[in-house]
């Protein structure tokens, strides 16, 4: 029990105002919320570390993938930094994979077959690691009723978001930003610890994260 309380206090201590400012800003930047980052800057009086315009570029790429316009996303990433896809074979493979998925989703079977042969098969040849995932993706072409096949998860929107997230992280890494912002992880720990403590003790529980934490920020600086 002591262990949980300790964890709880520890995670709270991470949310002290000054710490919070830098990680909060970071999280907002990471997800590309330009407006929020701007507001945050005005409210807390800190200078942004990065050029807000680059967030827009990155946001456009992410949006393109989320909308299923993978070719467009690839062009934009290459304009931003041609090295990203050239030095990240896994990411490149996943983007090509997403392109194939979109072609299949739109019923363009012949184009999909051609694409698989022309663009995806070489990825498997270049790098054996991708063979398994490649097989799964190509299997989409084999099923008549794709939605009920074992590979139907590839058609979910979640697959698009997964790919989008991967591109986002790669762009950030190339711009020398932390890959994982700390705030979401800390909030997750806080929630987990509070859930554990609920069963064991009475303690000052934080119910509303947004107001509770913002309250600390406004009054304690």
């Amino acid at each position: 029990m002591d262990l949980f309380f300790g964890d709880y206090l520890l995670s709270l201590s991470f949310l002290f105002p000054f710490w919070f400012i830098s990680i909060g800003k970071e999280a907002y930047n990471h997800e590309g919320y330009v407006d929020a980052a701007e507001k945050f800057r005005t409210k807390s009086g800190t200078e942004p570390d990065i050029d807000l315009a680059t967030i827009t570029d990155r946001m456009m790429v992410k949006k393109a993938v989320q909308d299923g316009n993978v070719e467009d996303a690839i062009e934009k990433v290459n304009d931003l930094n041609p090295e990203i896809l050239d030095t990240n074979p896994q990411l490149f493979f996943h983007l090509q994979q997403q392109r194939l998925i979109e072609l299949i989703r739109n019923g363009k079977v012949e184009e999909a077959l051609e694409f698989a042969q022309e663009e995806l098969a070489p990825r498997g040849e270049e790098n054996q690691r991708f063979l398994e995932e490649l097989e799964r993706t190509v299997a989409l072409l084999a099923f008549v009723d794709v939605a009920n096949s074992p590979v139907s998860d590839l058609l979910d929107m979640s697959q698009r978001f997964k790919t989008a997230s991967e591109v986002n992280a790669a762009i950030l890494a190339s711009q020398s930003h932390e890959k994982d912002p700390k705030l979401p992880s800390l909030l997750k720990i806080l929630v987990l610890v509070q859930n554990q403590l609920d069963e064991k003790a009475i303690y000052p529980r934080i119910k509303d994260f947004s107001t509770q934490l913002l309250k600390n920020v406004v009054f304690d600086i």
Partner: protein, 668 residues
């Protein structure tokens, strides 16, 4: 968003290139084609190769150069922005061709883009400068670009200007140039004096690419340079070392690997404060964990581990305790490893087994012998070499040799095949393994002979490459050690005394040494063996005698003397022949070689000389008294008397025995 103007969308590669090359394409179409080409090749190695074959690179370089000229003239009245775009896109395209592809780098260099790109990195438009700098960095990451001469003042100035900017693309270019071209100690010194090391450490706080680039450059400057390593570790520079040490905990696997490489470079420069065991253990653990990485990082980690532990027993012990051997063997047993990874694992295991018996046991117990044997016939020469080296080191285990783990067909046959390998270094590694395996303590070594090994060894002993001659003779020497007569006869059928005589007189002293040692082992045994040395005109005996008289190498002299001693253990005829060699009748004023060698500073040589005397004057032989008299006349007896208190215990024993035997005849 569909691409505008379906013009490029479904164009095949040939068509695209034609559009780029055509003088008639409208310039907007050309720019679109260029962008399309760029987007088709980035990340796509297969496409890069296709376009390379179609001559894409010279076409793009052409576009780059005319765009640069127009931009240089201010646009020629047209849109400057347009031409700058062309410049950026063509530079980026070339950069992609050069990225991780040697054929691409070669094409870019051959098309003459290098000087142009160099001039563009100082362009005022940052995007142009960035694209060109990136491309140059890709080129410098290969082995192909022209070597950068750091000793030229203006070059050094250029390099420093690159490192001192705030622009990451330029600093990373500087770092790549360093990693590629810094090779000699003089260059390392000049760079260190210019403050480059300090600047590189300062840049370690930057982005991932910068961090990695600077770590690589640091490793290149520190590598094998004790002086620089010492200065890097000095107290006031302690902070710099700490910065690098911290990076072995970095999130990014490649950064961790490069930080380890740097520290290993420092380590290998034998800097004393490295005995801090915490750091040594951490290095081992990090490298071990990096081996799990599926990318190139995992391929390279075992090589760094090998560098860290090679020849260093203390590191090998630490690694053994950290279960590194089990980890490496696990990787092997997982199977389907790339050639690079296989090579790394075998090399690392070979180093770890080089001195410690417990490590050899662990490898044998991990049941990797099958993979090892398979690897001996691998298509990659590097893998064959590495696996043979591992086998050689494992066969240093006396216990396992005697248990017969290695003297079986599955091991010997592929090894014998390697003697015919097209690659010299593989042959040498195989010879090393065979040398150890044939030191079989079981008196029967027929298996190796049956597998046709002797013929190949004898053939290799005649090789043009002295390294091969040395190692082949070594293997033959070990094969002959305490071998039974039947095997000896079979071996002697292949060896010719004239070729042995010329090997004893080989230009390379190391070859002479092995050849003499071979004969020493050969004549150790029955009288028939000794007879081999005598033939028509006794070429062998004369060759041995010549070395004894003229060689200046202690090792050669020792082997020659022991050979003489073994021959002298034979019959009367043999003993007289030795006497004739030691006391030739021509040139009475020639120095008495027996006395000369008795006076040698090397104890082994003194011992061998004493043995020879003992064998020559063995009681119960008819000519002994005559020989004793001759030795006495040559002042050998008085010399021995002077040596009864020889500082070396073994020598003292031999000398007193010889003297005692001689005195028996003299007093009688």
């Amino acid at each position: 968003m569909p691409t505008p103007a379906a013009s490029n969308h479904s164009a095949g590669p040939e068509e695209l290139i034609a559009r780029l090359k055509s003088a008639h394409s409208p310039r907007e179409a050309k720019l679109k084609a260029l962008r399309d080409l760029k987007n088709r090749i980035i990340g796509n190695r297969t496409k890069k190769l296709v376009f390379l074959k179609l001559g894409a690179v010279p076409a793009v370089v052409g576009i780059l150069s005319s765009a640069a000229a127009i931009v240089g003239r201010g646009g020629d009245g047209e849109s400057l922005e347009f031409h700058e775009s062309v410049l950026i896109q063509s530079a980026a395209t070339l950069g992609s061709f050069a990225c991780g592809l040697d054929a691409g780098v070669k094409a870019v260099l051959d098309a003459g883009a290098f000087p142009l790109l160099l001039s563009l990195i100082s362009h005022s438009n940052e995007k142009i400068s960035d694209a060109s700098a990136r491309t140059l960095r890709m080129i410098y990451q290969s082995k192909l670009p022209p070597k950068f001469d750091f000793l030229l003042e203006k070059n050094m100035g250029f390099l420093l200007s690159l490192l001192n900017t705030e622009n990451e693309n330029l600093t990373c270019l500087g770092a790549s140039i360093l990693s590629h071209s810094c090779q000699t100690p003089l260059e390392q010194q000049v760079l260190n004096e210019a403050g480059v090391l300090k600047r590189l450490v300062g840049l370690l706080g930057g982005s991932l690419t910068q961090k990695d680039g600077c770590l690589e450059a640091l490793a290149a400057i520190i590598k094998n340079n004790q002086e620089i390593a010492k200065r890097f570790m000095e107290p006031r520079n302690g902070a710099e070392l700490n910065t690098v040490v911290e990076l072995i905990k970095d999130k990014n696997p490649r950064t961790r690997l490069l930080a380890c490489t740097c520290i290993v470079s420092l380590r290998n420069s034998l800097v004393p404060c490295f005995h801090e065991s915490g750091l040594r253990n951490r290095l081992i653990l990090v490298l071990c964990e990096l081996m799990d990485d599926p990318s190139q990082v995992g391929d390279e980690a075992p090589f760094v581990l090998s560098d860290l532990t090679s020849q260093k027993e203390d590191m090998q012990k630490i690694a053994a305790e950290a279960s590194v051997i089990e980890k490496l063997c696990e990787q092997l047993n997982k199977g389907s490893l790339t050639p690079k990874r296989l090579e790394g694992v075998f090399l690392a295991l070979a180093d770890l087994c080089s001195k410690l018996e417990c490590s050899r046991d662990k490898v044998l117990n991990s049941k990797v012998l099958t993979s090892l044997i398979q690897a001996l016939s691998h298509e990659s020469a590097a893998v064959r070499r590495a696996s043979a080296s591992l086998l050689k080191n494992m066969a240093r285990s006396v216990k396992n040799l005697s248990a017969g783990h290695f003297m079986n067909e599955s091991v010997v046959l592929p090894l014998v095949q390697l003697l015919l390998d097209p690659c010299t270094s593989v042959q040498i590694a195989a010879l090393g393994a065979i040398s150890n395996i044939v030191v079989d303590f079981n008196p029967q070594k027929p298996l190796f002979i049956k597998c046709g090994g002797v013929k190949h060894l004898v053939h290799l002993s005649q090789s043009m490459d002295s390294n091969i001659r040395i190692n082949a003779l070594w293997a033959l020497k070990n094969l002959l050690f305490h071998v039974d007569n039947k095997c000896k006869e079979e071996i002697l059928l292949e060896l010719s005394s004239s070729s042995m005589a010329s090997l004893i007189s080989d230009p390379d002293p190391s070859v002479q040494e092995q050849a003499l040692a071979l004969i020493r082992n050969l004549v150790d045994g029955t009288l028939n063996s000794i007879e081999y040395v005598f033939g028509e005109d006794c070429p062998l005996l004369h060759a041995i005698g010549r070395q004894l008289r003229h060689s200046s190498s202690t090792e050669v002299l020792t082997q020659a003397m022991y050979t003489m001693s073994n021959i002298a253990s034979g019959n009367e005829h043999h003993k007289e022949a030795i006497m004739a060699q030691l006391f030739p009748h021509e040139g009475k004023d020639m120095e008495n070689i027996l006395i000369k060698h008795l006076r040698s500073v090397d104890s082994q040589l003194r011992i061998a000389a004493a043995w020879t005397i003992t064998n020559l004057t063995f009681p119960g032989c008819p000519g002994t008294s005559g020989r004793v008299a001759e030795l006495r006349n040559a002042n050998v007896v008085s010399e021995l008397k002077n040596m009864v208190n020889d500082p070396c215990l073994d020598a003292r024993l031999r000398i007193r025995t010889a003297l005692g035997q001689l005195m028996m005849f003299i007093d009688a």
